[in-house]
């Protein structure tokens, strides 16, 4: 097929007026070089059912070794950051790597918060052996249950009541009897003791009735004085009795407290003895049980029924664990393992790493319009749950959660988890709240994120590199090899197994491998974006089911790929439509001076597609400047501007070594209304400039991509497949003429994984892909005119592109010089005249 083109387009070199045409231009690529395909027969299996699913990752040795190192090294600041593209199986790989190691690690301690009987707003943290937190919590509830039954009975007992009555009687005898004796004495002296609203008074009495004042005043003075003296004496006596009352009442209360304490102590001791004994090997826990017992004795009233309880029509006992009176004796298990659960270090993944979910929080509940809290409302965070093991976090989510990143660093640095309200850490409020005792932290944190995030953190947060010293870098791609192709097939088998899909046959797998190379944008590589691969396999399975097939085949994979593209293809179609309808001017036949088809790539979500754009160049005499209109209009990005400046270097270096570059040139992406960046169009811009300078037209049936350096070498660019396909689609829509094609950098040939229809068109001689390594090669293909090399006299041969360009630039320089001379002459004459 290639020969067919050569016969049509390859006339013998002739000197045609001023230009020299060439017959032997650089050769287009063969169809076999446009796509690397796997032959199903080389895979060695019929369906994925025959394959052993892969458990780890393929081709990620460096990252896996880093993970192993990070997991093994025992230091609080050797935490890991796992870099890599999303959905590349990083988390699964880390989990599968850490799992066996965690299973062999010692089980971490349980942690509980208990009431601090000395400082109630600072709950105490108790470390307990693995699996014993629940036993302590249950033991305390059981003890409370027992005491709720035992203590009321003890305080109703005959023994207690007798002893209490004795105390009461003692009090009464010392006061009531004194009062009664005083009353009797007063009565014997005919003095009445009367109670007033505010106290007591005394008055003379006769036959049980108070003597009227007028009767009393009629008595002899001596008698009156005698009564007054008696009343005065009796009042003093009464005063002594009344003043003694508080003291004796205090003594009574003290005696009663002692009695209550003694009685309660026995019951509390009986209830807590077993629990205390079972935790004697944990001194802190045993000390807590003793402290709780002491508090119960001091607050024994909590266990005695209240008036309301006694009067309740239906007596219903409240679960002790939910009775607000006994909250202080409950145990709050922060980290509590089931004693029967398998031992091993925890691997915890927190998918929503907010501050509270990470560090823990103190919750509140509303009571009478106020928010209240206690130590039972202290809730654990992921750091508590992962303590003694591994904590996996998504770095981006972590950084997006206010306060979470700083809190995590604080915890790692301090090696303890301290639960604070975020607003407290900022120092904005000073309201008293709970200040739980911090819990020592021994955790290995594994962050997952993309490379950009890693390098941003490393650049801007000095703590980051100090605390995350292990970098596990997951590659986006793996190299193509027979071994890796088979590994890829096993990876597909594991996706099939995990999602319970139908088996995929060898042709289907081969097509998936091809697509893996396409996703990698490199036929020598395979993409290991597991997520995208899994999506494709599942979609292929769907189309296979739609077609009632029991095995997923190549046609199902291709259907899945087509449908994926079709679902997100609207904008690509629109872009192509405006070209086909002539709204965006792109020629695919004929020739024009200073005009060329450049190629760009648009990335919309997961879909990327190429789009041709017309680039034009105009030249004239000037002061030596190439104007990038995109940049002037602030539509050009820095890389694009850099590419344009390189053109200036190329022109000056090649054509104007000994003359001034008296050129003014303008370059523009026609009908481009958005931003332009990247330097992949710089070779196309240079071709347009050379065409404009030489006056040799460029074939519009060709499009160009590639960047260029100052030496005129064409360099690799990205998105080569999409760019070629974008121009191919336009050409095909208008009808393939067998003259159409694309010039690409030679170094991009290794990336070619073109669509099958493009490959078929090339095979049929309807389309061509030219690899070029220099501008000279490219301009020859584009113009059909030799570029030309300098002769021994230092000049380019006549009729070549380079000679024409050089001559044009020299003529610009000459004209510039004569223009300057004449201008200077006019100026000098003007001076003389004046």
């Amino acid at each position: 097929m290639f020969f067919k083109r050569s016969q049509q387009d390859g006339p013998a070199p002739v000197v045609d007026g001023e230009v020299t045409t060439v017959a032997a231009r650089p050769q287009p690529l063969d169809a076999s070089e446009l796509r690397r395909v796997v032959a199903p027969s080389t895979l060695g299996f019929k369906t994925t059912d025959e394959l052993q699913p892969i458990t780890g990752l393929i081709g990620q040795d460096r990252a896996l070794k880093a993970i192993q190192f990070g997991a093994n090294i025992k230091s609080h600041d050797f935490n890991m950051f796992v870099l890599g593209p999303p959905a590349s199986g990083k988390t699964t790989a880390v989990r599968s790597h850490l799992g066996p190691r965690a299973a062999q690690s010692p089980a971490p301690s349980d942690w509980v918060y208990v009431y601090n009987f000395e400082t109630p707003n600072q709950p105490k943290a108790l470390r307990l052996p693995h699996g014993r937190a629940r036993a302590l919590a249950k033991g305390m509830v059981a003890a409370i249950d027992e005491l709720r039954n035992v203590l009321p009975a003890v305080f109703e007992s005959e023994e207690y009541r007798t002893r209490r009555r004795a105390i009461d009687e003692q009090f009464r005898s010392t006061n009531d009897e004194a009062f009664q004796a005083l009353s009797a004495k007063a009565q014997s002296q005919n003095i009445a003791i009367l109670r007033t609203p505010n106290g007591f008074t005394m008055a003379p009495m006769h036959e049980g009735k108070v003597v009227k004042p007028e009767v009393f005043n009629a008595l002899p003075e001596a008698m009156r004085r005698d009564v007054e003296m008696k009343i005065d004496a009796l009042q003093k006596e009464m005063q002594t009795i009344l003043e003694r009352l508080p003291k004796s009442d205090k003594k009574r209360r003290s005696d009663l407290s002692e009695l209550n304490e003694e009685v309660a102590k026995r019951a509390v001791g009986d209830a807590l003895d077993d629990l205390e004994a079972s935790f004697r090997d944990v001194p802190d826990a045993a000390a807590y049980v003793l402290a709780a017992g002491y508090d119960m004795v001091r607050n024994v009233g909590l266990f005695l029924p209240t008036g309301e309880e006694e009067n309740a029509i239906v007596k219903q006992s409240v679960d002790s664990a939910h009775d607000p009176r006994f909250r202080r004796y409950m145990v709050n298990p922060m980290v509590s393992a089931d004693a029967s659960a398998p031992a091993g270090a925890p691997i915890v993944e927190e998918i929503n790493p907010t501050y509270g979910n990470l560090i823990g929080r103190v919750e509140h509940f509303a009571q009478m319009g106020t928010l209240v809290t206690d130590f039972l409302l202290v809730k654990p965070g992921a750091l508590h749950k992962a303590n003694g093991g591994y904590l996996l976090l998504d770095a981006r989510r972590l950084l997006l959660s206010p306060f979470a990143w700083e809190a995590l660093k604080r915890a790692i640095k301090a090696r303890e988890v301290r639960i604070e309200q975020p607003i407290e850490t900022a120092g904005f409020i000073s309201t008293q709240t709970l200040d739980p005792e911090p819990i020592p932290l021994d955790v290995k944190v594994v962050l997952f994120g993309d490379r950009e995030l890693y390098y941003l953190l490393a650049a801007h947060d000095p703590d980051f590199t100090r605390l995350f010293k292990v970098q596990a870098d997951f590659d986006d791609t793996i190299a193509r090899s027979t071994e890796n192709d088979l590994g890829y097939a096993r990876l597909i088998a594991s996706i099939v197994k995990e999602h319970s899909l139908k088996p995929v046959d060898a042709a289907g797998v081969a097509r998936l491998i091809d697509e893996g190379a396409r996703l990698a944008d490199d036929r020598e590589k395979l993409s290991i974006e597991i997520g995208r691969l899994a999506d494709l396999v599942r979609e292929a399975d769907y189309w296979s089911s739609e077609a009632n097939r029991k095995v997923t085949g190549k046609q199902d994979v291709e259907r899945a790929i087509e449908e994926q593209i079709r679902r997100s293809d609207r904008l690509r179609e629109k872009a192509q439509e405006v070209v086909n309808r002539g709204l965006v001017l792109v020629d695919t036949e004929g020739s024009s001076v200073g005009q060329i088809n450049g190629l760009s790539v648009m990335q919309l979500g997961s879909l990327a597609f190429g789009r041709p754009s017309r680039i034009t160049a105009r030249v004239r005499l000037g002061s030596g400047r190439v104007t990038d209109i995109e940049r002037e209009a602030k539509l050009g990005g820095p890389l694009h501007s850099k590419g344009v400046m390189i053109l200036w270097g190329f022109l000056a270096g090649r054509y104007a070594l000994d003359v001034p570059l008296a050129l003014a040139a303008t370059l523009v992406f026609e009908q481009s209304y958005g931003g332009v960046d990247g330097d992949s169009a710089s070779s196309a811009e240079l071709y347009a400039l050379l065409s404009a300078l030489s006056g040799v037209p460029i074939k519009q049936s060709l499009a160009v991509t590639g960047s260029v350096n100052q030496l005129g070498e064409v360099q690799a660019i990205g998105g080569v497949n999409e760019k070629i396909e974008g121009f191919f689609d336009i050409c095909r829509a208008r009808g393939l003429t067998e003259k159409q094609g694309v010039l690409i950098p030679k170094s991009n040939v290794q990336h070619l994984m073109l669509r099958q229809d493009v490959v078929d068109a090339v095979r049929n001689g309807q389309f061509a892909v030219y690899p070029v390594s220099t501008i000279d090669e490219g301009i020859e293909i584009l113009t059909g005119v030799k570029a030309g090399e300098r002769n021994s006299d230092g000049r380019f041969p006549a009729g070549t592109i380079n000679r024409l360009v050089e001559d044009k630039l020299r003529s610009f320089a000459e004209r510039g010089r004569s223009f300057a001379r004449s201008a200077n002459g006019v100026a000098a004459a003007g001076k003389e005249n004046s």
Partner: protein
Amino acid sequence: MIAHVAASDEDRGRVVLHLQSGLPNPVALDAAVRIARAFGSGVEALFIEDEQLIDCAAYGFLRELSFSGRRRGAVSPAGIAHDLRLAAQGAHRQVELLASAADVPLQVRVMRDEPLRALAIACAESGPWNVVAFAEPFDDRAGGLLKQMLQEIAGTTGVVMAGPKARRAVGPIVVAVEDVQQLSGMLMVAQRLAALDSAEIVLLLIAPDEERLAWMEGEARLALEDREGVQIRCADLARGEAAAVAETLRRMHGGFVICQFGGLVVPEDGKLAALASVLECPLFLVR
């Protein structure tokens, strides 16, 4: 024997609540209001200004000693009258709150007289079907006053008192039966009170020996016929002491204790010390 309080639609009789200070016992007030509710009657809150206090105040040399004994000062008739007026207002306000909440008709009244005579006058004016309720907690010396009152005030059919340990007026109605002849009257009062809260009624039969107890139980069962919701218990009175009876009553955690005057529970000699030291609910004494 009957224990009756006139209903609101009867012209005569109500619960006469004797108030004497500004700090009445809340359980006693509650008891008075509950009885009024039980009988569909009203409450007459009668604050009695003891005439003798006014007389005392006229003595120039007398001094008033505060409850704590730390303050001693002169008294005057005007000062005492003022203090009594304030106390009356305070007491009446507390009763008003309870009566209003229970939707019980209330009359308030202040009388200046000797206390028993004032009560007798009030009962005579509104009697004969009155129950006298004492707002002040009774003590071991209250027995003498009770005897005198029941003798002198003919218009009363019962007396309600609460001890210093009283803390509830809700719960089972305990009827302390020492004389089966009085059972039907006490049972009627108990049923009225029990109906307020669907409380149960417990008959506590008290007798000096088992034979007597057995006979009383038989009589009680005959009297009860097929009435539901009434339990019968027999007091173990081997020692026959008032203190033992009082303790038995306490352990029954009653809302009211109904008993007769002049038995083991409330002896005629007026010694109420045992009862005063343990009883946690009001006492309804029937004549």
